[in-house]
Amino acid sequence: MCSRCLELTRRSLLAGGAATAAALHAGVAQARVRPQDMVPLVGPGFKPTERDEIGLWKEMDRVEEEISGTNLLITDRNITGYLRDLIGTVGGPAAKDFRIYLARIPEFNAMMFPTGFAVVFSGLLLRMRNEAQLAGVIAHESGHFLRRHMIRSWRDQKRKTDLFAIGAMLAGVGGAGAGVYLGDYVQLAQLGTILSLFQYSRAMEAEADSMGARLIADTGYPPVEMANIWEQLIGEENASARYRGKHRRKGSIFDTHPSEGSRMADLRADAAEITVPGKVYDAHRDRYLTNIGPIRPMLLDDQVKLNDPGASQYLIETLAQDGWNGLLRFYEGEVWRLRNRPGDEQRAAQSYAAAVAYPDAPAEAWRSHGIELMKQGRSAEAKSAFRRYLTIKPDAPDAAWVRSMAG
């Protein structure tokens, strides 16, 4: 069944399995970095002069070439334009000219490269509740490159490896080279590994957090949203793990971004420190929802179909804090249906029934509602639901089957 199923133990686009996780630096408490101390070390037009950094940039060029050619990009200009504007606003001095690659990967992540491009995973867009949060993630990532964390991390890794013992083999090589080659991403499966290659120390994370808070506050977003992002992420991880009865899943964002309770506290303290009393901050939730709206069904679909019920449920409930609607109720039903534990079918049926009561219910909600009615023996109502589905979506892929049921 399914040629590749036996070969893959788990599709992990983030960690790629072999990337070593950044150690959770246990024990040592990290002193909070004050936002006002965070100034960019990189300005527009910056070009590296040191050999190893030049080598690193060359590799990033190769990465960009591979990414730009992948099948997995969302190229909708409205969305990428919206992202570009946002990145230009909070990404620091150089970010206005950045190239954006939005990859259709249902995981939370984003990365900015000093060579002038950013990669955003679609899972990020699903999880952010407002524009401030999205800006916060972007600002955090730009913090990493504005403070030159990448080259520092690169050099740290080089020091740790034993490559320098091979003197003879390095002879004649132009440039000291670096520990890891970024550019050989022939396959999508490795796309995620680029985001785990830079392993930031706890100190670097503190800097990025701090810088991020400052950048968004300067733009007029409430800096406390930075803390909210992480809180939501942690909640999702815990929900996913709790459902499975074990600890946090491997290959998550937390492998590269160590997170501790004190980090939450630091973020809140940052926010408090730079919030100017009397200044008006706006998280721009409506603007965000409007811009992301067209792809939200796809984002939910990708997430729910991973069948990680703990995480999906948590996400839907978080999004529902802004109000339930037909779309969310439908996908809530899908989560139950896919989870399929005792009692889940009834829960799914209830969710579908709730979904169709909303004006924005997706067509599929009618079909799924009809299927549940059919199973309950309410065939007249079922047929009516099926007919409604066919009216909304006469060219649906499964229209032929539904038609045969609708009578």
Binding site: M1, L6, G310, A400
Partner: protein, 208 residues
Amino acid sequence: MKPEPRGALIAATLALAACSSVGDDYGGFSDYSAIRVQRVNVGDDRLSVVAPRPWNRHRPVLFEDVRAVEDWTLNGPLLDGISFVTGLRDGKSLIRQRRTTSQQVPIFRSNMTPPEIAAMIESLYRVRGGAVDFRTVSLQPRSFLGTNGFQLDYEHLDDDELWRRGRAVGTVINGQLYLVLLDAAKSHYFDAALPDYEAIVASAQLRR
């Protein structure tokens, strides 16, 4: 770090081969045996089919395969494959998985309708098969094994960046799932295998 499977195993197994020969393939452990052009039982032996020409049957590896599922291929499972599901029972899934895995392939339920079975197949590909995109092309009624079954046509993009196409013809009899599925690279291989597949589906018979 980039995983490098082929280097590892190629280096290891080439020792078995003679040097620098234009040769044939002998030796090595093959997971495959040839199906002859005659009626054969598949899967749990509940179903029998006839192939119009020899295919390669994948020998089940202990602990990894579900008894009711059998896989065939012509050019290798990365390029094409026909899978038979013969009497999958309520509560079973199409593939073995650990209960603690965070992303689960849904299990089969006897009261599943074709859209739900289609969704189960989609999840299989997304969760385990490395599919990053999956599109249902059509779902329609189709008679199979003398009952009112269904035919699902789909496409998926996998993490090796290759688009693949699939067709599944199935039905539920006495609460058990019977399915014959073709999955192959969209470029060339699916179309090439389709006539064989349709012949095999037409030949399928339930065994008592």
